[in-house]
Amino acid sequence: MKHCPLPLLLALIAFIGLATGCATQNKSSAARQDKTLQMPAAESSHPQEDRTLQPPAAELSNTQKDQRPQTPAAEPSNASTALTDDEEALLEDNFENWEEESAVPAIADPIEPFNRAMFTFNDKLYVWLLKPLSLGYRKIAPQPVRTGVNNFFHNLTAPVRFVNCIFQGKGQAAVAEFASFTLNTVYGVLGFGNVTKKYPELNPPPEDLGQTLGHYSIGDGFYIVWPFLGSSTLRDTIGRVGDAFLDPVNYVEPTETSIAVRGFNTVNMLSFRIEDIDAAKKAAFDPYQAARDYYIQSRQGKIKK
């Protein structure tokens, strides 16, 4: 690419920082992490991590704190059974009639043989390359460092989330994304520290172009498994291509470096989820179908928000 956007510079600086041993801010993030984690389950009276729900309209929750100033306090808590629309939607089990076939979200899979082949390919890639790499990486990189890397990459894709919030007319979420990006870039030192973590109102559900298209009632099309990238659909593939223009990692030159950066991000992410992936594989009868359904359900959940 001819032009060199600011995020690229940030990325490079950040990597130099990382390579030279990620200094102070990771320590501080480590301290913060530990504090959160030592909190015993019994004392969990702070629902601060809930990114998805509107606050309860009334005394429905056992958790007392309402930290969502942005929500219009709609119903003047008339009854203890009053739920916000979001909560209604969550509680609604469209699976109530268990006899009905239609309860299961269906996805067209006309290219299933291709997809299965790609699924196997990705699985081998995971088993033979990514998993050993992630396990090794986990041994040498302490958790706060890996969390810092995660934060950094998450912060880097803030423009994607911001733009898609705008596309979906989610003004407050867009402001929140912008504010988080600014705060984490400045005070979190290029996003390694996540200074906005404690504030649910600054952590709206992440948006992407696939969700934006879904928001405007564009259907999935059909299921596609891409080599290296994994589960997707026709719509989400288009979304991914669109979002790629806003992803700074794609502007890293030369291409080999860009791929290496992406691989590093993947290994870093996997280092947190190896056991989850293995357990999911063990728990499945047909891992391909399980993964396909997981993807579709998860995307449907995200589009609703």
Binding site: S44, P56, L60, L91, D93, A103, P205, K282, G301
Partner: protein, 210 residues
Amino acid sequence: MNTRQWATVFCTIILIASVSDANTESLSPLESLKGPINRIIDVLNDPAYKAPGDKEAQREKIWEIAHPIFDFLELSKRAIGKPWTRFSSTEQDRFTNVFSEFLGNTYIDKLQGEYNNETIAFEKELVKGNVALVRTTLRRPGAEIPIDYRMKKIKGAWKVYDIIVENGVSLIKNYRVQFSSILQSETPDQLIQRLEQKLNAQAAGTSQVN
């Protein structure tokens, strides 16, 4: 007695009935989940089970606490869906047993394998009539996973019949997709045999995913 007295007596009876009712089923959905889950965490942290030889005893202890949280019949019905009516009542029983054991083994294995400093935050409960959703967050170093429990009031007690992970993925729906595809070409009995094989493989430790 005149009407007024009758009304008083009637109201008193209702009142007494509702009070005793409240006494027997006073646990809210969140509470009826929180108690057992915290006890499971205690068992996982219990130094008495730290030796590798104690894993089996620990597993049994966990299963003993976990089992009553769930309604496995409801769970099994939903995991099968429409073809459930094709199951004979013996097959329904067999399936329910083997499926619950399979779920128990799979997830207790995972708990035992990697439980390290995980905490569960019970965020809130949403209740509507006899259904409820209890929202929790599983926290571990560097990751947070939202886990919601769908619960139903069955014979006065709240029981879990589905688990929703990461804000929208129903575990039971996920099994249903797989089971319905198996049941398209196989009989209920064959499905149960598959489950039994998987269980045996688990027991033999050969179900290792590499």
